[in-house]
């Protein structure tokens, strides 16, 4: 987590940053890491790590490798690796990833879909 915070404030050379005064509307795609400190509306498709900083406001569907949310996201999130929702973040939407972490103090509304491996008899009960 320290890493992601550091990255949010001082992006590394590989991270693209959408600054706090910037708004993007449309679809964003790429293969590098991205830090959103401003506003993004539309859709984001990244094969890298996405950080929605505290000041970030995202109204978009996100498809990424991994994401750490400290700000606001309204939209569905599908990650191939992991989704982390930090304290103070506000996420409204459905999320799907093999690993999802919701920290205490995060605000989340929506569905979470991880692979849950249940023994057979319970699997039936679950459906």
């Amino acid at each position: 987590m320290a890493n992601t915070n550091a990255r949010a404030s001082s992006p590394t050379s590989d991270a693209c940053v959408i600054g706090p005064q910037t708004a993007v509307r449309g679809s964003l795609s790429g293969q590098e890491d991205l830090v959103i400190e401003g506003r993004v509306e539309g859709s984001v498709s990244l094969s890298g790590h996405l950080i929605v900083a505290e000041s970030g406001e995202v109204e978009a569907d996100l498809e990424i490798e991994s994401i750490a949310v400290l700000g606001q996201v309204r939209g569905d999130i599908v990650a191939s690796r992991s989704i982390t929702i930090e304290r103070g973040a506000q996420v409204s939407g459905n999320v799907r990833a093999p690993r999802v972490m919701i920290n205490d103090g995060a605000h989340f509304d929506g569905a979470v879909e991880m692979e849950v491996d249940l023994p057979d008899d319970l699997r039936k009960a679950a459906r």
Binding site: E59, D76, I102, F108, E115, L122
Partner: protein, 215 residues
């Protein structure tokens, strides 16, 4: 009889690993489940599902701490915590939800509680009845949406989340009846009311049915 209950001064109930309870369990003390429980749990205190515990039940308690398996909806007044190794299939309704790394979870999460605080440009989006800026009602919309924000006892469905999709490309959320009903109801501002009466809004899920919190 010596009680081998978990170290706590408060009374607590332990369902050991060799026990299978099927039915309704209710009470006013902590409950530790290390065995199997099917049915329903209604407690005023904390439910702990141990690593070996298997609960196939609707759970309602003040706090719920899961380290084992739970299949069923979980409602807590305070918090629901899924520890590493926990498996939960079902919906969670609680003001605080903590999902640790290593937990496996599939279901809806409803925190109810406060809407995201308005940020500078933040318009209270999609309360489903938020007025279109076209009319001067837009500024009025904000306070009303907040006011009308009922505490969501939402039916947990998993509908197409982005009902707000239609917002794309639009900064503001649209509602027509504000204009239409303006005369009918002085409460043109009360989006809540308009929501109820609004026939035009066919595509909007009924209040209380919002899947994705649109506050």
């Amino acid at each position: 009889m010596t009680r081998q209950s978990p170290p706590t001064d408060e009374p607590s109930t332990l369902i050991g690993p060799g026990i299978f309870v099927r039915g309704r369990v209710s009470g006013e003390e902590d409950l530790h489940v290390e065995g199997r429980l099917e049915g329903s749990i209604e407690l005023t205190e904390t439910v702990y599902v141990a690593t070996a515990g298997i609960v196939v039940a609707t759970v309602q308690a003040r706090d719920v701490v899961v380290s084992g398996v739970v299949v069923g909806n979980v409602t807590a007044e305070d918090s629901v915590t899924l520890n590493a190794g926990a498996k939960l299939v079902g919906d969670i309704t609680a003001p605080r939800v903590i999902v640790a790394d290593g937990a496996a979870f599939s279901g809806n999460v409803a925190m109810g509680g406060e809407p995201p605080p308005p940020r500078k440009e933040r318009r209270q989006p999609t309360r489903r009845a938020t007025p279109k800026p076209a009319a001067a009602t837009r500024p009025a919309a904000k306070p009303s949406t907040k006011a009308s924000k009922a505490s969501p006892t939402r039916v947990a469905a998993i509908p197409t989340p982005r009902a707000a999709r239609r917002d794309e490309g639009d900064d503001t959320v649209v509602v027509k009846h504000a204009e239409v009903d303006e005369n009918k109801r002085s409460a043109g501002k009360k989006t809540a009311k308009s929501r109820k009466k609004a026939p035009p809004r066919a595509r909007v899920p009924k209040p209380g049915k919002r899947r994705v919190g649109r506050r």
